[in-house]
């Protein structure tokens, strides 16, 4: 290679662990997240094996409770929330806005260290004996009754929260201040709009989680009961505070996925995203209205009727912008020149799975049906359709799409397509039966269950086995390609975005000369060839 790129500037460990290059930090995050993903996945595997039979014959109830708690905490805070923003986002945002780095590179590195500190604290809590409160930390169980490492696990999540905040802050400021000349707001790729919306939530919701966890830890440590019913405290206050963060956190997890899908759909249809402004503003609408719906987790908790009505109403409203996005993606395909490379397969899978997840969300927003469905497997199936079917699928799609840019190598298209198809089938087999289980009334977090639910559980466990294998496949073919794959050209997909106009992998400061943007994103000419944003 004649020129050096960000991977070849320096090979020392120091150059990686003290780097302020957003691309290298993205790689650090990527490696950490794979680690956490497989830990959380391992817990899920044991859970699914256990649930293949109605009796509790593999692990004890205490172990089972620790397993699903660990699965939830690791997957939510140490995989899903940082997944797309901190890996793909970190790598792509400065390239997409034509900047040499994020606004605060050292803060970016610090955020990774904070994240790792939080992750290690949580892992320590898990391996020291575990935590059995569920990822929701509901009081008074977590504060007065649980005999597990609640404070330590909460501390881990608390610490990781600061990493979220710093990432969000960095993205917001970078997108405001570091855009290349000519890159107006309506010329931003939609991935950036969705990451901007995500960052708003990260910055404004995470601190509420921080203070809530702090109150939990204080209550547990000092025995003062701010949520303790015995001195007049209200456990529902905890739930309000918790869901003020945790419902918007769902949008933290899905919005970046939606952002990726825009890039994929447009590139592989060789067409502009239909209704650009609607899709862009829909992201911000989801971020804003997403803050007004948290009480739909509490319809049967004893909150007031008025509150339930308002929250149910808002929950229906927040579904509108999501619907807008799905319709616009579908319309984008119209009269395109569709190529079904692996990223596109993931994108199409995302649309289907996300729509099922979104529609079943309406069931749960619907007051009378939620009374039956809440806290059953219906909820489990619903949010896995959004989180795994939506977010993880989009993450894999984005990863395949930008892989040549990140590593400078091409992966095996055959293996990638096979994995995409297998993931799609494994996923549906795992989680669709859970809708039926939930509708029939099987509560969630059950270690032992009545035998009539077994058929669907066996199907689900079988699907989980396929899904687990399918998730392992990319580890091998992507891992192989990173070292031995053929060299990638700068723009293997012939896409118009700024990130494709620099070499693969990009040089240390991204662009040899400052790009000047002259047109809207996603432009293709009559012959379906990309028209670069900066030409």
């Amino acid at each position: 290679m004649s020129e050096t790129n960000y991977l070849t500037t320096d090979y020392t460990l120091r150059s990686w662990f003290l780097t302020t290059d957003h691309k290298r930090i993205a790689i650090l995050y990527f490696a950490s997240l794979i680690f956490f993903f497989f830990i959380g996945g391992a817990a899920a595997t044991v859970i699914r094996i256990e649930l293949a039979t109605p009796q509790g014959d593999l692990v004890s109830s205490d172990t089972y409770n620790r397993l699903f708690t660990m699965h939830g905490i690791i997957m939510v805070w140490f995989f899903l929330i940082p997944s797309i923003p901190n890996t793909l986002g970190n790598f792509i945002v400065p390239l997409m806005i034509g900047a040499r780095d994020l606004a605060f590179p050292r803060l970016n590195l610090m955020s990774w260290y904070i994240f790792m500190l939080g992750g290690c604290t949580t892992l320590f809590a898990i391996f020291a004996g575990g935590i059995d409160t569920g990822w929701t930390f509901y009081t008074p169980f977590s504060t007065l009754y649980s005999n597990s490492y609640v404070i330590l696990a909460a501390a881990g999540v608390f610490i990781a929260g600061f990493s979220s905040i710093l990432t969000g802050l960095n993205f917001i400021v970078s997108i405001h201040r570091l855009r290349a000349p000519g890159l107006t707001w309506y010329r931003l790729p939609l991935f950036l709009w969705s990451l901007y919306a995500t960052s708003v939530i990260l910055v404004l919701a995470t601190p509420v989680l921080a203070i809530t966890l702090l109150l939990i830890a204080t209550e547990r440590f000092f025995g003062v009961g701010i949520f303790d019913p015995r001195i007049g405290g209200d456990p529902l206050l905890f739930q309000h505070l918790f869901w003020f963060y945790s419902h918007p956190a769902v949008y933290i997890m899905i919005l970046p996925g939606m952002g990726v899908i825009n890039e994929l759909i447009s590139c592989f249809s060789r067409k502009e995203v239909f209704g650009y402004k609607f899709v862009a503003w829909a992201s911000l609408a989801i971020a804003a209205v997403g803050f007004l719906v948290w009480g739909h987790h509490m319809f049967v908790s004893g909150q007031s009727l008025v509150a339930s009505l308002v929250f149910s109403f808002m929950s229906f409203i927040v579904a509108v912008p999501s619907a807008i996005k799905v319709f616009n993606w579908t319309a984008t395909l119209h009269k395109g020149l569709l190529r079904f490379d692996a990223p596109m397969l993931y994108a199409l899978g995302f649309i289907g799975l996300f729509t099922i997840g979104g529609l079943t969300g309406l069931f749960l927003a619907c007051l009378a049906y939620d009374v039956h469905a809440t806290d059953t497997y219906f909820v489990v199936a619903h949010f896995h359709y959004i989180m795994v079917g939506g977010m993880v699928t989009a993450y894999f799609g984005g990863l395949h799409y930008w892989w040549p840019k990140i590593t400078g190598r091409l992966y095996s298209e055959h293996w990638a397509r096979a994995a995409a198809v297998l993931i799609f089938f494994g996923f549906n087999l795992t989680f669709f039966p859970q809708f039926i289980l939930g509708a029939e009334g099987m509560p969630r977090r059950y270690h032992i269950y009545p035998p009539e639910f077994q058929v669907w559980n066996v199907l689900s466990s079988g699907g989980a086995a396929i899904l687990a294998l399918a998730y392992l496949m990319p580890l091998f073919y992507l891992g192989y390609s990173a070292f031995f794959g053929p060299r990638a050209p700068a723009n293997p997909w012939d896409a118009p975005g700024l990130e494709w106009q620099t070499s693969s992998p990009p040089p240390e400061h991204n662009f040899a000369t400052q790009p000047v943007v002259t047109r809207k994103p996603y432009q293709y000419n009559r012959n379906f060839q990309a028209e670069p944003q900066n030409a």
Partner: protein
């Protein structure tokens, strides 16, 4: 590597860097607002449920110390604002003195807070450590004091961080201030003022209720 540029490569100019930093600081402050926001919600929820208890709890706080501390903090904020306003290489000594003064006032605040804590400890008003309060309002008073200690402790932690920042900046001003320290000073000042604003509200929520009745 060539010698360090005056600003990092992602910026176009010094002012570009400076106002980017200021924007970042404002985002951070928005985050902090919500951090205290969770506590404020808890406060209003319990005050709504235990109106009398909260008034009673408030009467057990020391309004003299509370008011003095508010005045101290407002004054230190004024000194910091003054230091930012006059900052330039040839008035560095004045800035250094003003920042030192502000940091000292901050320390004074912490000391008074400590005295107040120890008084409350003597009166058995520290939930979780030593809380004894007889009578019908005990629950409300206990919830009030939980809020009081959590909120003021988090605020005091912010104060300590702020004092460290101001002291460091004062030392820099004394030695070799350059134009780029103006950004750092400006950001630190924003943070200090924000801590001041938080206290203004905590003061109104903690010390003032229930004073007009017994």
């Amino acid at each position: 590597m060539p010698e360090r540029a005056a600003f990092a490569p992602q910026y176009a100019s010094v002012p570009h860097r400076d106002n980017t930093a200021e924007l970042g600081m404002w985002v951070f402050i928005a985050t902090e607002v919500l951090l205290f926001g969770g506590l404020i919600l808890a406060y209003f929820v319990y005050r709504h449920a235990f109106l009398q208890g909260f008034a009673e709890g408030s009467r057990h706080t020391d309004i003299v110390i509370g008011t003095t501390n508010t005045a101290v903090l407002l004054t230190s904020s004024f000194l910091v604002a003054w230091a930012v306003e006059v900052f330039s290489p040839d008035t560095a000594r004045l800035s250094a003195w003003l920042l030192t003064g502000a940091a000292c006032l901050g320390l004074f605040f912490i000391v008074l807070k400590g005295i107040e804590y120890s008084k409350e400890y003597d009166e058995h008003l520290v939930p979780g450590v030593d809380f004894q309060f007889a009578g019908p309002l005990a629950n409300g008073v206990q919830l009030f004091f939980i809020f009081y200690f959590v909120a003021t402790a988090i605020h005091a932690l912010h104060m300590l961080i702020g004092i460290c920042l101001l002291t460091t900046l004062a030392a820099i001003c004394r030695k070799a201030p350059t134009a780029r320290h103006h950004t750092a000073l400006h950001s630190a000042a924003l943070y200090w003022h924000f801590v001041d604003v938080v206290w203004i509200f905590l003061f109104a929520l903690i010390y003032l209720p229930g004073r007009s009745s017994s």
